[in-house]
Subunit: 483 residues, 2 copies
Amino acid sequence: MVALRQMHIQVITIFRTYSTVMRKLWMLVCMGTVHLTVNAQYVADSTFIKRIADNMLESNTAHDYLYHLTKRIGGRLAGSPQAAAAERWGLQVFQQLKADTAYWQPCMVPHWVRGGKDSAVLVYRDNFDITRTQVLNCLALGNTIGTGKQGVKARVIRINHFDELETYKAIIKGNIVFYNAPFEQTFIETFKAYGKNATYRSTGPSKAARYGAAAVMVRRMTHAYDNHAHTGATVYNDSFPKIPAVAIGLKDVALLNQLFDGKRQQPFVHLFTNGQMLPDTIGNNVVAELRGTEFPDEIITIGGHLDSWDVAEGAHDDGTGIVQTIEVLRVFKALGYQPKRTIRFVLFANEENGTRGAKAYADAAKQRNEKHVFALESDAGGFTPRGFGITASNEVFEKIKSWASLLAPYYGNNIVRGGGGADIAPLNRAFNTPIAGLQPDSQRYFDLHHAITDVFEAVNIREMQLGAVNMAALIYLVDKYGL
Amino acid sequence: MVALRQMHIQVITIFRTYSTVMRKLWMLVCMGTVHLTVNAQYVADSTFIKRIADNMLESNTAHDYLYHLTKRIGGRLAGSPQAAAAERWGLQVFQQLKADTAYWQPCMVPHWVRGGKDSAVLVYRDNFDITRTQVLNCLALGNTIGTGKQGVKARVIRINHFDELETYKAIIKGNIVFYNAPFEQTFIETFKAYGKNATYRSTGPSKAARYGAAAVMVRRMTHAYDNHAHTGATVYNDSFPKIPAVAIGLKDVALLNQLFDGKRQQPFVHLFTNGQMLPDTIGNNVVAELRGTEFPDEIITIGGHLDSWDVAEGAHDDGTGIVQTIEVLRVFKALGYQPKRTIRFVLFANEENGTRGAKAYADAAKQRNEKHVFALESDAGGFTPRGFGITASNEVFEKIKSWASLLAPYYGNNIVRGGGGADIAPLNRAFNTPIAGLQPDSQRYFDLHHAITDVFEAVNIREMQLGAVNMAALIYLVDKYGL
């Protein structure tokens, strides 16, 4: 009995050992297979992304597209002949690249015109009490009204912070409010400085008008060592009178501050601007599609905005985003990539002073009950890439982050929370679509943002192309694996 | 007995439980203390580095130093009056910043002069068999001899790779070898393309002379879309005749290749260059010290090279490295930082065509039996930083890498193996000193390297300053914790 029982136990032990071993072996095989599969996928993805990069870096097309858009067409504010030319060009490019379909998506856009040269002359007394004049570098802010032919000649009231409007309210009426809040130099991510300061440009005129100001001057927001002004949108609050508003260059700001700091509190400025808001007109989003082979109803959007301010060539804002978008289509076609999902390439209309293109795109998506699974925008300049900012659920964020090592060779691996773009934000609001924004290095952006320095020559083609490589890679990964 | 024994066991159990709990508690306290200490140190380091960054980003000094060095002094090749002016300026700056000591360290340097304008005229037959001429954008390579007043007029032999010298040896004699190896576009780290290609510039002339070539033309190594040539050092092999050598711009290279590809294999070039190597002259490393308070004999070196090629302003190569080095001293003084170890700030002489300053510095260190614990160079351009390349033991590498999160807010956290700089490499060879090189983004570097485009305007001051922030931070950490 004992022997039998022992044998029995032995058999059971052997069997158990055997099955444990087999189970472990089987697990190892499974894990190995999974591991091998994962690894093979990683190699395949990495290889495909390298093909994207090689193709883009060895091609001149990005250079040629940007040259045409900036030098041949130029600044292209909504409603301008240049905006229309850019729309025609964009459609033609999409057709030449043999997208499955390419079309205009019309929308009504605001039509602001600068109307002539902006001018500001400072009149002040020097240390010898002699009256002096100094022409200030200025640009009227976008959407603002003009001063009329007589201009506005008035005393300048320096306001360092919105709070001071209340402090100085007794002397603001009829005078020119000069917002002197400095652009933060110590924020490493320069868009944070912009986030803090841009409100003086966008809401400052109406806030001053509330106290009866005749006009507004804001400091240029820049890290550059020059005296250029900038433009950029003002949004009037309809509760208060619309008043003219300009930005002025920082060397002129320094002169003004010298006068105020020297207690010669009576500088005057004679301001002439000619801005005018004409009736809304027709603009177009330019759209191309590669139709999905497996999930054609799932839409991935990639884009930038085609319009730009009038004063320069809209090279970094947002010519580079446009060219990157086109380059992603071009390289997908060149490599014969057939997406599982439908990829929409969108050159948005009127981002700068209305975002009407963005609204039209989201509205149409709602009407058609489209399924928008992801959207990516490039509108932070064509500088050397650092990564992507993501607005999405934790799960989606972590999934995108898990691809970072595939983007690292192209410097796109810094995946952070928050970000997207003004043109795709409505998709996120409407459908909770995960959205992403390319984040290039931001050190040079405010050297040229909305200023006359935003020209073709300020773009390094390789930096722009590296951004496009990362955009194509991310779109490819989202298309392949879903979110 | 049983009761007693049970009591005994209970007491022992309680005691054991008590001591286990106490031991665990004690361990927690210890770990907590260690954790708190580590955390407090981290906060202190992070705070100090933020003070460095704030100070640098709010200061104009980096801009002003670079402006003086590039615009007021200009290109400053060893032996030139500009090099001497730069040495005087550097010493003066160090003295003004109240370094503990500042001095010149003299050394003999080569004295090459360009001697006049370089010229190359292509003579070829067009499709209608009409003889045409085309002036080529060219620059004589540094250290090369001139062509003499008659110039060199000879047939051009295209060589795509060194291997082809043997293939074409029958026709090379008396003719001009045109090295046509293209600069790699697909390497994301552009210095790798340089590493692969620069040998045609440095060793190509002597390799062609071995086969009796009369002169050499090399392609410019660049990613730029322009037709500028570059200069840069050639190193003659004394076994073969010295022959003139130039680089030519890429649009001219394209024309030459059209001729060769069109089988009109007989383009001629008429070349004039005037280079001359004069007798060695005196140059100086410019050195400043902050003496260590605890370990004054342990020396940390930080530097860049003060010389530059003659054709431009030596802005990125290496004006920015010089200014960053000065800025680290300035900010340490401004913040009242007293280093534990001795920090040497060195503006090296003659990196470009001899590295004699580097040798003199290492030789003096050997003679004085100095203890060099770390050296850091910035000589890869003043672009937005990405990290540091480290040549050191695994242990030292890992220690430096452990500081990455402190550098991350300033984009200096990509710590990789390999790197340093031509001026500090001799220290590594002599003492096995760990060396590091700042690694800025490299996309734009070869747009301007050794070309007329390397001017002040090509530098973004914030990008340069961010590099200096990371350099100061790394020196601070090495000084505080040792390696």
